[in-house]
């Protein structure tokens, strides 16, 4: 891999050192567990949380004479992901053996793809807020087996091995060294996770370990030569990724500014201390003795196979975002927030289109990203996971559009649905609870006349200072029990008071 710098140094991301500015260079290897019923080369289940060694076949346990057979669904998932990353799909790829000894690696080698991966170069777009959009290059994606798990806390002097994960399919998504700050790194991880979840090729649950990242960090003078990198292994949260990069960059800068040099090594991030520590140096690095796995033929498929998968690919976040802006007139920010999760985007769109209605997408977005998002956050849920149905959202927006309730009334109505009537139908609630705003001018007129008659002093005052109209609006609204249509009220008061 030749390193090419595709980015223009951005002072916003520089880190101040004692001797001047520094720039961080970051490349990511994301390990994403493929969503599939069974493992990459065996029929064992991939179910999470099974009792230890429940999902282990003879192949997973590396019994003598056992042979791997490729799981076609894992291949489809890798190709789908490659398409989602706008990447080159390689019709011929090769599985290699990566040889090393470890108790939770039963074969004594991991089947991976070394020289000829299934997916080649692609790209991911990041929206860094405002007008800043950056493109991060994808170097490759390859399929490989996960290892099992060693358990060291169950016995005074023995370790236990759980092979449930042994042989589960992983996609390793390798980025180019295009990231320049911890914020970009976090945005990248988040975007990759969004894409994987849209595609349904990985659940992206970092706490369960189904997505983790190895982060390569180096520092340099802005725009200068790439520095020596350190690899931070197995980071399992986006927040930790940001912290680990910040710490590591500062550590490297301190060393360099003290006249030292960086040793290429593998490091671990400890979330408790917020620090990275050395795991093994370059000298201790394994010689993995990669060679093509003779038990497996080269993996080959034709263009029709790719085309078929491409045809059935779901709409991707970038495309959806663009469409929401274009079709529903929402702001780019709202579109970005709405499309972070595929289900939330679907939820939003279901509300917009509910009952074949055509309603203002912006109004729906305001409600979803506003009060509903606030409620969802308070519950630790995503908007689509709340009990509020798209039909209810549509109902509320329609009532506002028809002038039946005011936007203040909409807030109240939503509170009723949240707290009191989770299954309630908005129009019915408004009707039953008398929440309709009054637009009948005849009824309002009588109230207004009474107020004008009872307050001659105020009438004089408003003529001198038209902004005093607010006092009359307040009185009239109070008298109507808050149900008067504020706009109609305004118009009528102005007319009656003879102000313009």
């Amino acid at each position: 891999m030749t390193l090419i710098d595709t980015r223009t140094p951005n002072p916003k991301s520089f880190i101040k050192g004692a001797t001047g500015d520094w720039e961080i260079v970051i490349g990511m290897e994301v390990h994403a567990q493929v969503l599939s019923e069974s493992k990459l080369f065996s029929g064992s289940s991939t179910e999470f949380g099974s009792p230890p060694n429940a999902n282990v076949s003879f192949v997973d346990a590396a019994m003598p004479g056992m042979l791997p057979v490729i799981n076609a669904e894992c291949v489809r998932q890798a190709v789908r992901t490659g398409l989602g990353l706008r990447a080159q799909i390689n019709k011929r790829s090769i599985f290699d053996r990566k040889n090393y000894f470890y108790p939770d690696l039963p074969q004594g080698y991991q089947i991976s793809q070394f020289k000829d991966p299934i997916v080649g170069e692609g790209s991911v777009f990041l929206d860094m807020g405002g007008a800043e959009h950056i493109e991060i290059g994808i170097e490759r994606l390859h399929l490989e087996q996960d290892a099992g798990k060693s358990i060291h806390d169950q016995h005074p002097n023995m370790s236990f091995v759980d092979l449930n994960r042994s042989g589960v399919a992983l996609m390793e998504i390798v980025s180019k060294p295009d990231l320049r700050s911890s914020d970009e790194a976090k945005a990248y991880l988040s975007k990759v996770r969004t894409i994987l979840r849209y595609l349904g090729t990985c659940d992206g649950n970092m706490e369960e370990g189904s997505m983790r990242a190895d982060i390569n960090v180096s520092v340099r003078r802005p725009g200068g030569e790439f520095g020596t990198r350190c690899e931070i292994k197995n980071v399992n949260s986006i927040r930790f990724a940001g912290q680990a990069i910040e710490f590591e960059a500062r550590r490297q800068i301190d060393i360099l500014e003290d006249g030292g040099s960086i040793d290429q090594e593998t490091r671990l991030y400890d979330p408790k201390t917020g620090e990275t520590r050395s795991m093994r140096s370059k000298e201790e690095a394994h010689d993995y003795r990669y060679f093509p796995d003779p038990d497996l033929l080269p993996l080959e498929f034709d263009q029709a196979f790719i085309d078929d998968l491409a045809q059935h690919l779901p709409e991707l976040p970038d495309d959806k975002q663009e469409r929401f802006i274009k079709d529903y007139g929402v702001t780019p920010y709202d579109a970005m927030v709405l499309t972070l999760e595929r289900e939330s985007a679907d939820y939003y769109e279901a509300a917009v289109k509910f009952g074949n209605g055509k309603r203002d997408g912006k109004a729906v977005a305001n409600l979803v990203n506003g009060d509903i998002a606030a409620y969802a956050n308070s519950q630790g849920l995503s908007v689509f996971e709340t009990h509020i149905k798209p039909g209810q959202i549509a109902g509320i927006v329609d009532l506002v559009a028809a002038g039946t309730i005011s936007s203040k009334g909409a807030k109240d109505l939503l509170q009723v649905i949240i707290a009191e009537e989770p299954e309630g139908e908005p129009a019915e609630i408004v009707e039953r609870r008398g929440m309709k705003q009054v637009t009948d001018l005849g009824a309002i007129e009588k109230v207004i006349d009474e107020i004008i008659a009872a307050n001659p002093g105020q009438v004089e005052a408003v003529k001198a200072k038209p902004t005093m109209l607010g006092w009359f609006v307040g009185q009239a609204m109070k008298a109507s029990g808050g149900k008067a249509n504020p706009q109609a009220l305004n118009e009528l008061l102005k007319k009656k008071l003879g102000i313009e």
Binding site: A61, P103, P106, D287, R289, F291, P294
Partner: protein, 494 residues
């Protein structure tokens, strides 16, 4: 009653069908022969008498009802490399101490499906690495053949030495074997038996302990070409559990045996005429040519120019794959475990005590050739050589050659503990000089006994065929067998 163990597989099958004797009687005769012969020959590492009797009884019930498969009631020996459920499966290695798998290899499953009876597991070179059967953890197998007027013990060849010796000494009707660089054909040639390594992909490797995955193939050793063909038909077949197995219909190989060679073009490769090759081997080769000509074949001189690189390239590819395939024997999951103070000790002690010298030598060679900085010079280069060897054969076959005739081995059986070979492992590796090319190219090859050397020891010829054209090999092999018309029965001394 005649000795039932002396019957060919075909004759035994006919006798069973005609109810001249039962499988229980036949099986009993073999178990007796094993009891007498095995202490001397050391061909079996495990004898499964009770299971054999039970299987024979079940076969007898089927045969009595006029039913049963193509191998119904036929007692076989199984090389210890094949996984056999609940039965000793150790690849003749200490590292698989007490290992009995919970599964049955696809090839042996096919044999039981067709009604065969298992007598036990056959000795072999450890992990199939060897050409004399002296690397077995269970000690060497003794060749039933002895030189004229000599009591010196000879090797049966390897790695399928137990299979070859057991077939030759009437300790089974036929045997399974495997061939990575000549491990079926060389011992067959050294014991006067017939052995065929089919095309790579013809037999499933599932459940067979791996040596070098891209070269390993199962095949039979039998007393006649016809017997080998009958065995081959049952052992073969596509297996979805082996990605390298080929989805092709299996012909009735026995039907091809009497097809003859009339009109066939037989290639004689000039590169197989090695320096220092014994005159007897050369003479036998010429004799083979004459027999095939006499039966109507055309003989043509051909060139396979990359032959001389085959053996060195083989000794890079095979150890490389083996070093990785044998990594799973680490003391963690099954087999031998020697413990020390930590996991590294466990690995080192288990592997130090579990593997024999030759296996360790090959693991070290394989680890070396795959190492960073050496990979391109060795492994990649060897793969290129392999491609060239394959192309040599393709050119010849595309040019109209139907099969190629060569010697099977550079000499007859040699002595146990041969000092020369002990001192220089490469001398031992040279035993496979005529056979490894076939594995490197993935082609089928058959060894047929064709004559005897001056000391009365059997010598074999090898026929190499086109991919998946084992039928031509059986036909041509039968012509050699018929033309030689020699009784390849060793004088019984055990």
């Amino acid at each position: 009653m005649t000795d039932l163990t002396r019957l060919t597989l075909a004759a035994a099958r006919a006798g069973l069908k005609a109810k001249e004797f039962t499988s229980s009687e036949l099986t009993g005769a073999y178990l007796n022969a094993i009891e007498v012969g095995n202490p001397k020959l050391n061909a079996y590492v495990a004898v499964t008498g009770e299971q054999a009797q039970a299987q024979a009884k079940a076969s007898d019930a089927k045969l009595a009802a006029g039913q049963g498969g193509p191998l119904e009631g036929i007692p076989l020996g199984i090389k210890d490399l094949f996984g056999t459920k609940g039965v000793h499966t150790q690849a003749a290695s200490h590292i698989l101490n007490d290992f009995k798998p919970e599964y049955e290899s696809s090839v042996t499953s096919n044999l039981w499906r067709d009604g065969a009876v298992m007598l036990g597991k056959l000795n072999m070179d450890e992990f199939a690495m060897g050409s004399s059967n002296e690397t077995s953890y269970y000690g060497p197998v003794i060749n039933p053949w002895r030189a004229n007027n000599s009591n010196a013990q000879l090797v049966p060849g390897g790695s399928s030495g137990g299979s070859a010796a057991a077939v030759s000494a009437w300790l089974c009707a036929a045997a399974t074997a495997t061939d990575t660089g000549g491990s079926i054909r060389q011992p067959a040639a050294l014991t006067g038996t017939v052995g065929i390594k089919p095309t790579y992909g013809r037999c499933s490797r599932w459940g067979v302990v791996a040596f070098a995955s891209s070269l390993d193939q199962a095949g039979p050793i039998a007393r006649t070409v016809e017997d080998a063909a009958i065995m081959m038909t049952s052992m073969s077949g596509f297996d979805p559990k082996d990605s390298t197995s080929v989805d092709l219909a299996v012909p009735d190989f026995a039907a091809a045996v009497e097809r003859g060679v009339k009109g066939l073009v037989i290639g004689i490769p000039r590169e197989y005429r090695m320096d220092g090759m014994p005159a007897e081997i050369e003479a036998l080769w010429q004799q083979g040519i004459a027999w095939l000509k006499a039966e109507g074949a055309t003989v043509r001189d051909i060139s396979l120019p990359h032959t001389k690189y085959a053996l060195p390239a083989y000794y890079i590819v095979a150890p490389a794959e083996a070093s990785s395939n044998l990594a799973r024997y680490d003391g963690v999951k099954y087999g031998l475990r020697d413990t020390g103070k930590d996991i590294t000790d466990l690995y080192e002690l288990t592997r130090a005590h579990g593997f024999g010298r030759e296996v360790k030598r090959r693991i070290m060679i394989g680890t070396y050739v795959l190492s960073a900085g050496y990979y391109d010079a060795y492994y990649v280069q060897a793969q290129k050589v392999r491609t060239l060897i394959k192309r040599d054969f393709e050119i010849v076959f595309n040019d109209g050659v139907d099969a190629i005739l060569t010697p099977a081995t550079p000499s007859a059986a040699f002595g146990i503990g041969d000092e020369d070979m002990k001192a220089d492992p490469v001398k031992m590796y040279l035993n496979d000089v005529f056979t490894v090319t076939v594995n490197m190219a993935g082609l089928p090859g058959i060894a047929v006994p064709a004559g005897k050397d001056g000391a009365g020891l059997p010598l074999g010829l090898q026929l190499i065929g086109k991919p998946f054209d084992e039928e031509t090999l059986f036909a041509a092999g039968r012509v050699i067998e018929r033309s030689a018309n020699i009784d390849f029965s060793p004088d019984k001394w055990w």
